[in-house]
Symmetry: C2
Subunit: 677 residues, 2 copies
Amino acid sequence: MPDADDALVVFTPSGRRGHFPVGTPVLEAARALGVDIDSVCGGRGLCGRCQVDLCEGRFSKHGVESWLDHLTAKSDTEQAWETRRGPLCDGRRLSCSTRLLGDAVIDVPVSSQVHRQIVRKRAEALDIELDPIVRLYYVEVQAPDLHAPASDLRRLKDALAHEWQLSELENDIRVVQQLQAALRQGGWGVTVAVYDDRRIIGVWPGFQEQVYGIAVDVGSTTIAAHLCNLQTGAVVASSGRMNPQIRYGEDLMSRVSYIMMNPGGELTMTRSVRDALNALIVEMATEADVRVDAILEATFVGNPIMQSLVFGINPVELGGAPFALATDEAIDGLWATELDLVIHPNARVYGLPCIAGHVGADTAGMILSETPYLGEELMLLVDVGTNAEIVLGNRHRLLACSSPTGPAFEGAQISGGQRAAAGAIERVRINPLTLEPRYKVIGGELWSDEPGFDEGVAPYGVTGICGSGIIEVIAEMYLAGIINQDGVVQGSLAERSERVVADGRTFSYILHRDDNRTLAITQNDIRAVQLAKAALYAGIRLLMEQFGTQHVECIRLAGAFGAHIDVKYAMILGLIPDCDLEHVNSAGNAAGTGARIALLSRRARREIEEVVRRVQKVETATEPRFQEHFVAAMAIPHRHDLFPHLSAHVTLPSVMEQSGGGSSAGRRRGRGRGRRA
Amino acid sequence: MPDADDALVVFTPSGRRGHFPVGTPVLEAARALGVDIDSVCGGRGLCGRCQVDLCEGRFSKHGVESWLDHLTAKSDTEQAWETRRGPLCDGRRLSCSTRLLGDAVIDVPVSSQVHRQIVRKRAEALDIELDPIVRLYYVEVQAPDLHAPASDLRRLKDALAHEWQLSELENDIRVVQQLQAALRQGGWGVTVAVYDDRRIIGVWPGFQEQVYGIAVDVGSTTIAAHLCNLQTGAVVASSGRMNPQIRYGEDLMSRVSYIMMNPGGELTMTRSVRDALNALIVEMATEADVRVDAILEATFVGNPIMQSLVFGINPVELGGAPFALATDEAIDGLWATELDLVIHPNARVYGLPCIAGHVGADTAGMILSETPYLGEELMLLVDVGTNAEIVLGNRHRLLACSSPTGPAFEGAQISGGQRAAAGAIERVRINPLTLEPRYKVIGGELWSDEPGFDEGVAPYGVTGICGSGIIEVIAEMYLAGIINQDGVVQGSLAERSERVVADGRTFSYILHRDDNRTLAITQNDIRAVQLAKAALYAGIRLLMEQFGTQHVECIRLAGAFGAHIDVKYAMILGLIPDCDLEHVNSAGNAAGTGARIALLSRRARREIEEVVRRVQKVETATEPRFQEHFVAAMAIPHRHDLFPHLSAHVTLPSVMEQSGGGSSAGRRRGRGRGRRA
């Protein structure tokens, strides 16, 4: 039987329970029971992180009562906190400043749990435990004593060991440099930042509440970054900007060429990308009203060349075979000052590992975000840019390759092509009877055949066609019979429609014409897309073949391309293999999400480092089967039996069935095999 | 029975022996037997570190033969080495390139042993094993392969694991930045520097032979440094220069005052000492023809204020009670770039630990050099500067304190005082009958009463008196009866000698007079020395009392003062306690020696860190007994029974015996005790 002076307390959701003497602080009871409850200030009523919801005192011998009888009234400490920080939510109490008077059921809300979960977007993936590598601890340090000449640092470490059970701590020299002033300015109370439970990397006078980190995806074209609160996992600001290296070359290889032609050019490029990073950091910190020196961590993903340039590694070896990476390890625990970042000088940087010379940390980020390695389901992950990074596998095995799609999917090398921006055609439909098109442009709400379309696009007009528009218009041209499965514009249709016009020895399709411009889809445009899609599909086929499968169970399309294309059209054109359309989804900026997960979870870092080591790299450049798949993939798919899911969604054109196996693509494929035989 | 195709090999001095197939390289046999033999190049005939001396083939069945029959003839590799590096010493062979043909006795000379000993100066101290924290390793790395896309770093680490059994290595980012160029420039052969067997910190193309370190003693007045070869332990250059901080204040406290008065002054002083360090480094590297980027380690000792300023820590807290150190830990593994040093950018810095606010890393260095903690013998260590650092103890217990002697022992606060430099009087004798003095000056060979003295000192003349001269003249004045045991110049002697002259209400002793100057020892000078020696002796007595001893068994005097004074006079004046004069020695620059030991031996670092933690710090400023000892020590010692060893060397003056216990000093001491009673 519990003592009359004892109170029974039950914590939810953990269900842990125990008896404590009347007068015990709720936080102390929680800790004694091992209940997961946050605190930065060590129970001093400063941080407000240990809030709990108090339920009724169910166990009273006197029937139902208000919980008020079972806990001390709101304390001076809580009132002082409310004065500083605003009123506590209804019913919430600071568990450090509230004492048990009788039995109580006490709920620890998610926001007060140390090890709360970061919700991943994929419902089927396990959530990640919030476990940032940098944590803050407030301590009160003994004042120095002439008779016990332990140094300030030793007394600080003693306090951390005593109050927070952090022992054997190392420290940065800069912490020693700042410590004495901080201790005296804080009246012997300081907040320290501890890295990986083992090293003090920051010290501030008094109580410092928040610590932040940034997760950055450095793309060839765009740099995207998130500023996150490391204690809550929340994204407090996001921003993106063009990669200024574009002035040294639009695509990766032209940047490497620039370095080869201009000794020291790698330093220029490294400086330019770091300058852009700093501008982004300042922009996000300003937006979120966060001091840059409260940013203690940064994580990076990027393709191998971008990752190299951020970390000051000359990428020239990645410009030619054998495409040797300098390192395929994660870059761990690097000082931010080594990258000249304007965040806290002792902040640390983590770079996700690159996988191979063509398969970068961005792919590692995508894998971490989409977690193919966790399930039984066979997943295909695709990130399309100038190169397509392709990952195929499940928990048993993972394969990865990079395939040289070229920039056609990004609107480059296309006569009317442009980046996805206001004015670009992004959706197209063609009437198979009249061959007349209708379309939508980015920034406009209406289809081109709806009243008011011209007014809607007035500020800019129709300026070009972007990647997703290119896919749709070619797929629709195919469905309307304007091109055959070899991609040849059928010149005979010029008799039926003014849209089909001769263009030298080939024919084009006029998609749009106004006073300013004529937007035609030329035979060359179609060839460029065929080359790109053949490269992508050949890479996918190569991985499927090496995996020993004919079918994938789900497809995740990462990046801007994946977010904008209509997957049905991608499948009609044969960019991706047949799959239940329900299981083909955009993964958003999966690489950036991976960087954010690594920022918030130590375990995720170890996980992706381990997974990356197991990824089997497939080199498309030297694999003879890749060439065969590539040749075979030039034609637009026509065999219904290979695309059962697609056939359920669209009616393929009669021209396909007419040409049967006798298409010119089929003949080319036949010749290709003949050479190998 | 060994096989007929086997050879028996015996290695000396280890005595290890074994049978090996004919044709086995000697180095391979040595390694198989665990014989301690050096190599940087891994047996490729590049480094020449594995040289052995070959003895006769004693075990031949055919009687005495030349060893030539038992080993392969000089190989092409050895001849190539000799072409590059000069001929091998007579009989020496490269063990990697010499194979066994028959039985042999092979000697591994000290210079080829990895774990050879660093000889300490004290015969009784254990030698230290040469075990630098940075070592070089040459490896040949597999070229990259498109089909096995391991990064350059991974292949380097694989090679290090395979050839040198170095696994789980970490690395600096700058190694990654330099690796690819180094590998290709070196034709896939590189030398790496590995720190503490766990982290790659440097990489060079091809074979790099040597790695260096610097050991620095940063004194308030002088900075002294040694450049050492980390593989042999040899000092290849030494240099010293004035500490440029002197322009901000002659002594420590005036420098701290400068910082208090000039916010940011600590940055100025840190910059000035680091500039001086860099000038020293360049000077030594030039002298020894060593590239500064071959310097991979630096160790530092200094008093707490100097150590703080080198490491960028504001020393203001050391300017007043409670004299709190920022840190009393060793500063370990710091990047040299954090100190703006011009050595290899990945070089690491080690700062010996400070012991207390007044007892610095220089004292730790002195302890490491003199090793009182190893023996049973009770050792007194004294380093006299503006403060005297005093250490007393043995392997069971160590005590340390700092005592404010002031600068009198350095010639300051003395009317004719000067630093120890050419022209300064350093030795003095006084004829007790005539009271006439004779003396020697620094830079002169002759005593002042010898013919040719004036010519010998002609370039500068007699310019003043330095610390050791002050000690001697006052001791000789005492022995001649010119002063009594209270230090009072006996005015009555003015009748007997023109050397004793009135000076206001007191008397002075004219030590030297020429056309340019009169050098008199005034009553104030004597008082200044009495205050200084009383402080020193009181500190020593305090430690002896706390240790519970009346006698010390040996005394080691560190620094310039210890090197120059005649210990007999120091004992006459009562600077140091009675001790067998045979056991009173100069320790030279013991602090600097400690820095050098820490540079060459990892074990020594752990040793001094552990010892420093056990040192019991005694604070003189607040210890009432210190004041009592101080008052008692003002007088010149007179009790024979307390100085049995001294009495064996000198005849103490009769004035002592006359005054007996009734001296005024004795009376003061009596009063002091009375106040405590």
